[in-house]
Symmetry: C2
Subunit: 255 residues, 2 copies
């Protein structure tokens, strides 16, 4: 048992397994030996193997399935949300960039409306919309987007009440060929600029549940603000997406 190495066994084993995965001993999708087998092989108790697997899980290297085993995570293709997603050039297709990207990858995209209604925006949203918080309400629409029935975005849209009222945006079904932004454009709000604020973090328990996130998968949060030709913000949308299936791309001019 002379253990020359001073790093804990669980970490050492995690590193060894990770190396084995990296060199392809265990291919993506392959099952690792059972915890009992690994415990015997490394001469440690099963608990220690559990620790090692938890480390790999947190690193996003494996997924563990109840009663089945631990599997090397498959590299999922990224869905890229582009800076051009609001571009008029997509209007003609009648499809949203999300649906186009899904179709490209042979996936079926769809979304569900979770809620539509009047609500008080939080301070951050109120600030971006130049509303006085806790005094003015806004229209809130909550959606979830799916690719092949896997939830990939949780989307919350906020529109100042005076912009939204009387437009039909209060209906679950948006009554316009070009969606919400089609309606807003008819109200005189043509999108001139966007401001996207991007961050990443571990999900909170709610988000983990909504997005059915396995452990070790962070989320990307994009807070998007639409700005019209007068320079005023008239819509804020927050996207929360699983980071292992989504990316962003901004191809933009230098000003």
């Amino acid at each position: 048992m002379a253990n020359e190495d001073r790093t804990p066994a669980s970490q050492r084993i995690a590193a060894e397994l990770r190396d084995a995965i990296d060199v392809g001993t265990y291919a993506p999708g392959a099952r690792l030996p059972s915890t009992r087998t690994l415990a015997e092989r490394y001469g440690v108790v099963r608990n220690t193997i559990d620790e090692a697997l938890k480390i790999l899980q947190q690193q996003g290297v494996i997924t563990v399935e109840w009663g089945r085993g631990a599997f090397v995570r498959e590299r999922t293709r990224l869905i890229r949300l582009g800076s051009d997603r609001y571009s008029p050039k997509y209007r003609e297709s009648g499809l949203s960039p999300f649906l186009i990207e899904c179709a490209k990858q042979g996936k079926t995209g769809r979304f569900e409306v979770l809620s539509v209604g009047k609500a008080k925006p939080d301070a951050g949203v109120a600030d971006r919309l130049s509303l006085s918080p806790s005094r003015e309400s806004a229209l809130r629409r909550e959606n979830v987007f799916y690719a092949d029935d896997v939830p990939v975005y949780r989307v919350t849209t906020w529109i100042p009440w005076d912009v939204a009222q009387g437009t039909g945006l209060l209906e679950a079904e948006v009554p316009h060929q070009y969606g919400i932004h089609g309606v807003l454009e008819e109200q005189g709000h043509t999108m001139a600029r966007i401001n996207d604020e991007i961050s990443a973090r571990m999900p909170n328990p709610d988000e983990a549940r909504y997005l059915a996130l396995p452990p070790g998968v962070p989320v990307i949060e994009v807070v998007h603000t639409s700005i019209d030709q007068q320079g005023s913000a008239y819509e804020v949308t927050s996207f929360v997406m699983r980071a292992d299936m989504n990316g962003l791309a901004y191809n933009v001019p230098v000003e």
Copy 2:
């Protein structure tokens, strides 16, 4: 004893502690009771408390310090890397956007050059630079950026060899007031557009070490491509940054 709830004790305790943190029972920076105390309070063994704390750590809610205790993580202010970071308007100040942002927050920004030399770009970089991979080399510069001596970015820049040669970019010290992009501009490459591809994930062990990342902190990766007025890519930079201290902002026109 009579445990009506079927969720594991460690998860239940983690949720209770998280709620206590959310409502402010434990303020940011405050120390949680010791694992032994918590074990007694919840009537479980210390190991179970350890599990609960690991969950909170992975969620990025607390940091645990050896021999000192578990502390509620302070909300660190974000350093925002903006889409305007290459804008000519910053040229006059002579400061990079990173240094400006650090100064705003009362932090001292600096960077170190890790390496400068000829290297073969990987397939992704070669593709973005329209080089034939494994045949053409490029200049690679590796830097680390610090804010108050905390490493926040790991940056790797690639420039095609025929663009870089004879420019002084092979020196550790870039011989130009406006940095790398000042030199490249003198070579006739004026930045007309940028293409930033953004993803997030858990760090690999290397990155965790370089950036001194505590557990539960994801990284944001930005692969930036500079495009000149002829529409050709002449520089690729990869930024890997700790997600709890960094964010991105793109304020751009809709085209």
